[in-house]
C-alpha cells in the first residue's frame, strides 16, 4: 500500500500550545480530521516532518453557539454541522453544503476548519510521486510547469471546499489565532488567487472559529453542488446564494461559486439587480452575469465546457430554490 513519510506528531492540549508548536516547527501541517491531509502526505505533496494534531483541542473547539450570530468551533465535524438543527434553521445553505461533502465516514472525521483550509486540488497534483514524476511535475510541487494553463506562472489548482461558497454567501468571518494574538478576517478576504497557498493564514496561525453574522439568518439561501456521483466526489462546481427580499423585490444578493481556480468567487457587479422583482427573470440574469465571471478549467476532470454551459442553469435553479 502507499506509505506515509516519517513524521513526528505533536499533540498540543490547547490553542496556545498548538500555535506555539506551529511556530516552533516551520512547515508543520495541522492534522484535524486528516481526510485530505493523510492522502496528500502519502502522495508526497508536502515536505513536512511535523504534524500538529488537534485532537487535544476538540473539547475547546467543537461548539455551535448562538451569540449575536452563529459561532462555530473549527473542530466541529462535518456530519455534526450537517445534522445540527440550529444550522438547518438559521443557515440552511451551510447545513446543505456539509451534507453533500464526501460520504458518511469522511463527514464523521472531517472538520469545518479542515474544510475551509482544504488545500487546493488539481488532476495534476493529487497523485503519487511516481505519477507526478512521469508527468514532469508541476508548479504546485517539485516542478515549474502548469499543465492546466499553457505557460501559466500561477497555480490554478481548484478551491474544492463545499463550506466556502456557503459561508462566503452568508458573509461569514473566521477567527485566526497565532502566538502574536488573534484577528478576525472576513471570509471574502481570507482566500487568495494562488493555488500554492490560497489563504491569508500565516504558517503559525490557526483557524479556530467561524462567525456568521445575524443578518445571514433572515436571508433566503441555498447551496448546490455539481458532481459526477451522488456521493464521495469533490465538487465539479459548487454554488451558494443568499438573498434578502422586501416584498417581491430583491434587496441584497450574495452569490458565491467554487471549484473554478484557487479562490472561491463572489460574483461581483450585480448591485444594479437590487430592486428587481425576485422572479425567474432575475434568476436568469444572475446566471448570465455569473457565467461571465466564471471560467471552469481542466484542473478538474469534469469537462470544463460543459461546466461553463451549465453555470447559468445551475444559478437560476439555485436562486429559484432559495426564493421558493
Amino acid at each position: 500500500m502507499m506509505t506515509l513519510p516519517p513524521l513526528e506528531v505533536l499533540r498540543p492540549g490547547s490553542v496556545a500550545e498548538a500555535v506555539e508548536a506551529l511556530r516552533a516547527h516551520p512547515g508543520a501541517r495541522v492534522l484535524a480530521g486528516g481526510t485530505d491531509l493523510v492522502p496528500n502526505l502519502k502522495y508526497g505533496m508536502y515536505d513536512t516532518r511535523h504534524l500538529v494534531a488537534l485532537r487535544g483541542l476538540s473539547k475547546e473547539l467543537r461548539y455551535v453557539r448562538e451569540e449575536g450570530g452563529l459561532r462555530l468551533g473549527a473542530l466541529c465535524t462535518i456530519d455534526q454541522l450537517a445534522e445540527n438543527d440550529l444550522l438547518k434553521a438559521r443557515t440552511p445553505a451551510l447545513a446543505e453544503a456539509c451534507g453533500q461533502i464526501a460520504g458518511p465516514q469522511l463527514r464523521r472525521m472531517g472538520t469545518l476548519g479542515g474544510n475551509l483550509c482544504l488545500d487546493t486540488r488539481c488532476v495534476y497534483i493529487n497523485q503519487s510521486y511516481f505519477w507526478r514524476s512521469a508527468l514532469g511535475f508541476c508548479l504546485k510541487k517539485d516542478g515549474t510547469l502548469c499543465h492546466v494553463v499553457a505557460g501559466g506562472k500561477r497555480c490554478v489548482a481548484a478551491a474544492s471546499n463545499d463550506t466556502a461558497p456557503a459561508l462566503l454567501a452568508l458573509d461569514a468571518g473566521v477567527r485566526l489565532v497565532s502566538p502574536r494574538g488573534e484577528r478576525v478576517v472576513p471570509l471574502r478576504e481570507f482566500y487568495l488567487p494562488d493555488g500554492l497557498h490560497n489563504t491569508v493564514l500565516q504558517p503559525d496561525e490557526l483557524l479556530v472559529e467561524v462567525r456568521i453574522p445575524p443578518a445571514a439568518f433572515g436571508k433566503k439561501q441555498a447551496f448546490m453542488k455539481l458532481r459526477t456521483r451522488a456521493a464521495i466526489d469533490f465538487p465539479a462546481l459548487n454554488l451558494a446564494v443568499a438573498l434578502e427580499t422586501e416584498g417581491a423585490v430583491v434587496k441584497s444578493i450574495s452569490l458565491a461559486v467554487g471549484a473554478l481556480a484557487a479562490r472561491p468567487v463572489l460574483i461581483k457587479g450585480i448591485d444594479d439587480l437590487v430592486g428587481r422583482p425576485a422572479d425567474a427573470r432575475f434568476a436568469e440574469e444572475l446566471g448570465r452575469r455569473a457565467q461571465k465571471q466564471c471560467r471552469p478549467l481542466t484542473n478538474i476532470s469534469v469537462d470544463p465546457d460543459w461546466r461553463r454551459d451549465l453555470l447559468p442553469v445551475l444559478v437560476r435553479r439555485l436562486v429559484l430554490r432559495a426564493l421558493a
Binding site: L135, A231, V313
Partner: protein
C-alpha cells in the same frame, strides 16, 4: 439445503466480519516487503539499470532486475510476450523495470528513487488507428505484422448481397471506452521457500493452475517444487486472470534471499496491471427483411489492446463469435483487429470481448426496427433463434430461455402500458444478449479434463471436497457443499471444501469464460454420484452410519473423483472452437431512464433483468450475480473510462478519480431468474456471472432514445455528450420547422 436452495455463502460471514484470510493477511517472521520500479515513459529502450545505490540504503536486502528472470510468459501459450521485469524495452507508463526487497515498504519505496535507469525514449502509439498507421513504430516485437496482435476476418453467407436486398438498414459507427475491473482487493502475492527448497506462493489469482505452470517454467523449477495457493479473493472480475509481474518477483526474491517476500499493489498499480475492457471502435451494419428478420450483420472492429497480448488473441475472436444469438442471423461477417498500443494491457473483463459489439448491435437493431415501425421487443421475438439449433457461425445452442426473459421484462416493466406514456425526458429501452458457459477451447491444448474434483467421506459423517477451482466471489465453494448434500444426502454444513491449492487439489483451468459452476459442478456431481451409489448399497439410518457401513464394505477410505472432459464443439473452420460453448446463457433487460434535458444529466431509474441460467443452483447467488453484472454494465454506461494524456500517462489512477458508482448512483435492480434446464449443465445449470452485464448498456442507450430522441453511440454516456446530442436534435427540429 441442497441444489436449488438459498443456502448462505460458506465464506460470507468471514468476509463480512473481517476474519477471512486474504493474501495480504498472510505474514511470516522475517518477511520482506518488495516494491516495483515502473517506467515513466510510454515507450523507451533501456540502456542500463544501476541498482547499486539502492542496495546501499539501510534496510534494503535485495534488488531484482529482468536479466534474472529472462523468460517471457503470458496466459495464452501462442502470444507469450511479457517479462517480469523489462530488460530491453518498456512499453507503457507503469511497465515494471526493477524490484527492491526491504525490511518494510517505505524503505523499499525510498530505495526505488535511488535506482538509475538510462532510457532512450522512443515514439509511442497511443491509439489503434496510430498503431495501424505506424507499423514502423513497433510496440511489441511479438507482433508478426506491424502492431497487430490478432486479425480475424470471418464471413458466413453472402453479406453484401443480403444487405443490398434488405428492407431496412442501420449503419453507424460506435465507440466503446476502456474500463477497468476495480476489485476492492488490490493484487497481492506472498512467497516462501521452505528448508527443502519448496516454493509456495499465496496469490490473489483466479488462475492458480496457469500461474503454477508459468512460475515453474520462468523460474526454472520443477513443477513439483512449486505450490500455488489462492486465499480468499476480494473481487477479480477477470483482472486477476493473467500471471503478473509481482508473482514472479516475490518468488525470485524469496529464492534469492531465503526469506518470505510480499508485494501488495497500491491502487495505482492495480490500474497499471489493468487487463480491463478493451476500447473498441465498431462500424456496424444491421440489415432487416421487411418482416423484421435479420438478413445480415456486418461489423468492422478496431480493438485497442495496450502493450501486451494477455487474452487479446481470444478477444479478437470473441468480439465477433459471441454475437450470433439469441437471434438468428441470415448472414454474418466480422473483421476485427486487436492492436498493440503503448498503454496498460487490456484483457478479459466480465463479459470478455463481447460487451462492446453487443452494445453496438442492440442499438443498431432498434434503429433498423424503427424504420420498419416495429416495436423493439417484437423485433427481438421475431428473430428468436430457438433451441437445439446451430448459429450462423456453427455454434450449437442447446437450451434457450430468451423468449421467457423477454416476456418477464416486458411484464415487469409495464412495457406495453407505460412505454411512450412516461412524459418528456423519461423512457424505456430493451436489449438482449447471449454468453458462454465455459469454452471448448482449453488455453493450452491437452486431452486431460478441464476440471477435477475429489470427494472423500469420513466415518464421522464429514465430507471433504478437493477442488482446484477459484472461488472469486461467484460462490463455487458454496455450490460444492450443496451438490454434495444433493447427491450424498449429507448436511451441507458438514462439508469442508479445500480449494485452489496446487499441491492438494486437482487441476481446474481457472475462473474465466464463465466456466466454473458449469464444469466444476459436473465434475463434482460425477464424483458424488459414485459415492452415493456405495452409500446406498451400504444402507444405514443416518448419513454417518452409511459412511461407516460403506467404508467397512470398501475396506479402505471412501473417495471418488470426477472430471469435466472438453467436448468437441464449434464450427469446422479456423477459430471455430473459440466461442464454442457446451451451453449458452440468455438475458433480456429493460432499463428506465430519466433525462434532464437542460443539463444532459440523466439517471437510470430502474433495470429489470431476466436471465436464463438454466437452473439456479442457489437463487440467492444467481440474483447476486445478476445484480452485480447489471451494476457493472450500468457503471460503464454512466461514467467509467480510462483516460490518458498525450504521453500515455493514465489520468487519475485512483478510486477517487476513476469513478465507479456508489450505492447512491445505482439504479433499482430487479433480478429475475429463468430456468431452461440445459441438457448439458449440472442439474441443468448454465452461467450467470457475465451474461447479465451485456444487455444493461444497450438497454440504457435505447431508453435514452425513447426518453429524448437521441442515439448515443459513444461510451460512457457522459451528460455533456447527452447535452450535445440534445442540442443537435433541437437544431434539426428547428430546421425541419423552418
Amino acid at each position: 439445503m441442497s441444489v436449488g436452495d438459498r443456502f448462505p455463502k460458506i465464506d460470507g460471514v468471514a468476509k463480512a466480519d473481517g476474519s477471512g484470510i486474504y493474501a495480504d493477511d498472510i505474514s511470516f517472521p522475517r518477511m520482506l516487503h518488495a516494491k516495483l520500479l515502473r517506467s515513466p515513459h510510454a515507450h523507451a529502450r533501456i540502456r542500463g539499470i544501476d541498482v547499486s545505490e539502492a542496495l546501499k540504503l539501510p534496510g534494503v536486502i535485495a534488488a531484482l532486475t529482468g536479466d534474472e528472470l529472462p523468460l517471457k510468459y503470458g496466459v495464452i501459450p501462442w502470444t507469450q510476450d511479457e517479462q517480469a521485469l523489462a530488460t530491453e524495452k518498456v512499453r507503457f507508463v507503469g511497465d515494471e523495470v526493477a524490484c527492491i526487497a526491504a525490511l518494510d515498504e517505505r524503505t523499499a519505496e525510498d530505495a526505488l528513487k535511488l535506482i538509475r535507469v538510462e532510457y532512450e525514449v522512443l515514439p509511442a502509439v497511443l491509439s489503434p488507428e496510430e498503431a495501424l498507421a505506424h507499423p514502423e513504430i513497433k510496440v511489441n516485437e511479438k507482433a508478426k505484422v506491424g502492431n497487430i496482435t490478432k486479425h480475424v476476418n470471418l464471413q458466413f453467407g453472402d453479406v453484401d448481397r443480403a444487405v443490398a436486398g434488405a428492407a431496412a438498414i442501420a449503419h453507424e459507427t460506435y465507440a466503446y471506452a476502456g474500463s477497468t475491473h476495480a476489485p476492492i482487493e488490490p493484487h497481492c502475492a506472498v512467497a516462501r521457500v521452505d528448508a527443502d527448497g519448496n516454493l509456495t506462493i499465496w496469490s490473489s489469482t483466479q488462475i492458480p493452475h496457469y500461474l503454477h505452470r508459468e512460475l515453474s517454467r520462468v523460474l526454472g523449477l520443477s513443477p513439483a517444487k512449486v505450490r500455488v495457493i489462492q486465499p480468499l479473493l476480494g473481487g477479480a472480475f477477470g483482472g486477476k486472470s493473467d500471471p503478473f509481474s509481482l508473482e514472479f518477483c516475490v518468488a525470485k526474491l524469496a529464492l534469492k534471499t531465503g526469506r518470505p517476500v510480499k508485494i501488495l499493489f497500491t491502487r495505482e498499480e492495480v490500474f497499471y496491471a489493468h487487463r480491463g475492457r478493451h476500447p473498441m471502435k465498431m462500424d456496424v451494419t444491421v440489415a432487416l427483411e421487411s418482416d423484421g428478420r435479420i438478413a445480415a450483420v456486418d461489423n468492422k472492429i478496431l480493438i485497442d489492446g495496450g502493450a501486451y497480448a494477455s487474452f487479446g488473441m481470444i478477444t479478437a475472436y470473441y468480439a465477433g463469435q459471441l454475437l450470433t444469438g439469441p437471434y438468428r442471423f441470415g448472414t454474418y461477417r466480422f473483421d476485427s483487429y486487436r492492436m498493440y498500443t503503448n498503454k496498460p494491457p487490456c484483457g478479459p473483463k466480465r463479459g470478455h470481448g463481447s460487451v462492446q459489439p453487443r452494445f453496438a448491435f442492440e442499438v443498431a437493431l432498434d434503429e433498423a426496427a424503427e424504420k420498419l415501425g416495429l416495436d423493439p421487443i417484437e423485433v427481438r421475438r421475431r428473430n428468436f433463434i430457438g433451441e437445439e439449433v446451430d448459429t450462423v457461425n456453427g455454434q450449437r445452442i442447446t437450451s434457450n430461455g430468451f423468449l421467457k426473459c423477454l416476456d418477464l421484462v416486458e411484464q415487469a416493466s409495464g412495457w406495453r402500458e407505460r412505454r411512450g406514456k412516461l412524459g418528456p425526458g423519461r423512457g424505456l429501452g430493451v436489449a438482449g444478449s447471449m454468453y458462454i458457459s465455459g469454452t471448448a477451447y482449453p488455453v493450452y491444448p491437452n486431452e486431460m479434463p478441464q476440471s477435477g474434483v475429489l470427494v472423500k467421506l469420513d466415518r464421522s459423517g464429514r465430507v471433504a471436497i478437493f477442488s482446484g477451482a477459484s472461488d472469486i466471489g461467484q460462490g463455487i465453494n458454496t455450490l460444492l457443499c450443496q451438490i454434495a448434500a444433493q447427491e450424498l444426502g449429507c448436511d451441507p454444513r458438514h462439508v469442508t471444501v479445500v480449494a485452489a491449492d496446487t499441491d492438494l487439489t486437482p487441476v481446474d483451468l481457472g475462473a474465466y469464460s464463465s466456466r466454473v459452476t458449469f464444469m466444476v459442478g459436473l465434475a463434482a456431481q460425477e464424483a458424488c454420484e459414485k459415492l452415493a451409489a456405495k452409500l446406498q448399497a451400504a444402507g444405514g439410518a443416518t448419513f454417518a452410519e452409511a459412511c461407516q457401513k460403506a467404508e467397512a464394505i470398501e475396506g479402505a477410505p471412501l473417495a471418488a473423483s470426477g472430471g469435466y472432459r472438453t467436448q468437441k464443439l464449434g464450427g469446422g473452420y479456423r477459430g471455430g472452437t473459440i466461442g464454442a460453448s457446451p451451453a449458452y446463457s440468455f438475458t433480456a433487460h429493460v432499463a428506465e431512464v430519466s433525462v434532464d434535458e437542460e443539463t444532459g444529466i440523466w439517471k437510470v431509474e430502474r433495470i429489470w433483468a431476466a436471465h436464463d441460467c438454466g437452473k439456479a443452483l442457489n437463487p440467492t447467488l444467481v440474483e447476486g450475480q445478476i445484480e452485480g453484472s447489471v451494476y457493472m454494465g450500468a457503471a460503464e454506461a454512466q461514467m467509467e473510462e480510462m483516460v490518458y494524456n498525450e504521453k500515455g500517462l493514465l489520468f487519475g489512477p485512483s478510486l477517487l478519480d476513476y469513478r465507479i458508482p456508489t450505492s447512491m448512483d445505482t439504479p433499482d435492480l430487479q433480478a429475475m431468474i429463468v430456468e431452461s434446464n440445459d441438457p448439458n449443465g449440472p442439474y441443468g445449470a448454465k452461467e450467470a456471472g457475465e451474461g447479465p452485464l451485456h444487455a444493461a448498456i444497450p438497454a440504457i442507450a435505447n431508453a435514452l432514445y425513447d426518453a429524448c430522441g437521441i442515439r448515443i453511440r459513444e461510451l460512457p454516456f457522459y451528460p455533456q455528450r447527452v447535452l450535445k446530442l440534445l442540442r443537435e436534435r433541437g437544431r434539426k427540429e428547428e430546421e425541419r420547422v423552418a
